[in-house]
Amino acid sequence: MSGTTILKAQGLELWRGKKAVLRGFDLELTPGAVTVLLGRNGGGKSSFLRACLGLLPWRRGTLEVLGLDPRRRQRQVLEQVGYVPDVPDAYEWMKARELMRFLAPHYPSWDAAEAERCLERFHVPHDVPLAGLSRGQGALLMLAAALAPKPKLLLLDEPFAGLDAVAREEVLRALIGALGEGEERSVLCTTHDLDVAARIADRIAWLEDGRIREHGTLPEVLGATDDEELAGAPRRLAEKFLGVEMSSHA
């Protein structure tokens, strides 16, 4: 696999209606790392993920996903990339196993045993249609579906938005379980949950005014050189990127 780009955007310009949401957007993912894409709501994070899946066109620049142009080779990209949307995008009447059976033929690398394992591990109810699942269960079902083809690249769009504390923890635990050790799985996750970012991120990319303003390891973007200084990362991320002054209770 060495030599193949996981995900690379160069000079990307993407418009929604009359507004350029991305402009001069450069980002290259580090293979095997969890990259958290931070930025304000409406800042273009979701649009970027959808462009990576060939679902949105861009006006300028280049975008490569697993070495492929997602617009020209959308089918191959969709087959190889796991995607968890912010709101489940499957048929509401489908139950967990029906959804898996429905998706399986679309993915050459689909692993039915892995799908079943994920459903078990995430405690997704088998007999309830998607419409009847809680938000957290819906997110877990979509995560299980995304993991079943054992993707090299996992794209997650605000998987923790709108979840209560218990569900948030369940989704976080499921996601961390899917990261594995030393496995060649790269993850790009958008979120505005800084606690989640501090827990899972190897790398942070900060999106502002349509472009990536900063990208580096979590210690790097916080101006640290070694992990020993990394206590209180959520607070430090808030101070750095949101300009929030937090009271410190040292």
Binding site: R199, I200, D227
Partner: protein, 123 residues
């Protein structure tokens, strides 16, 4: 079973919290010598942190001599792991105690008051 949750708001870095949590479990006998620690992936899911953070903590514990990695089969509490953990915890808790005493003195408590607190433990 090792129940460790990393507090991301703490002033102690996440991997350090895991090191201290494991040392604590070994020192109080919850993990005996020769016992197998959870896999990196298991502990990451339990503590809700990136597996790399756990791997870093395990390397640190290995460096301290409290645990030993057996190739392929996992990470285990080392022989003499309990002594090492007890020593490590002792010096850490004594430091914490000294820091707390310092804070109390700065806040205006007298040495006499602190000594009274200590004497209450004797009773």
């Amino acid at each position: 079973m090792l129940r460790l949750r990393v507090d991301s708001t703490s002033t102690v870095p996440p991997s350090r919290q895991l090191v201290e949590g494991v040392l604590d479990a070994i020192a109080r006998g919850a993990l005996e010598e020769g016992a197998r620690l959870p896999s990196v992936r298991e502990l990451a899911a339990e503590a809700l942190v990136n597996p790399n953070t756990v791997a870093k903590a395990y390397r640190e514990l290995q460096w301290l001599g409290a645990v030993r990695a057996r190739n392929g089969s996992g990470v285990f509490v080392a022989e003499q792991g309990t002594d090492i953990a007890v020593d490590a915890r002792r010096s850490a808790t004594l430091e914490e105690f000294a820091r707390a005493a310092e804070t109390a003195l700065r806040a205006g408590h007298t040495k006499g008051e602190l000594q009274r607190v200590l004497r209450e433990f004797e009773a």
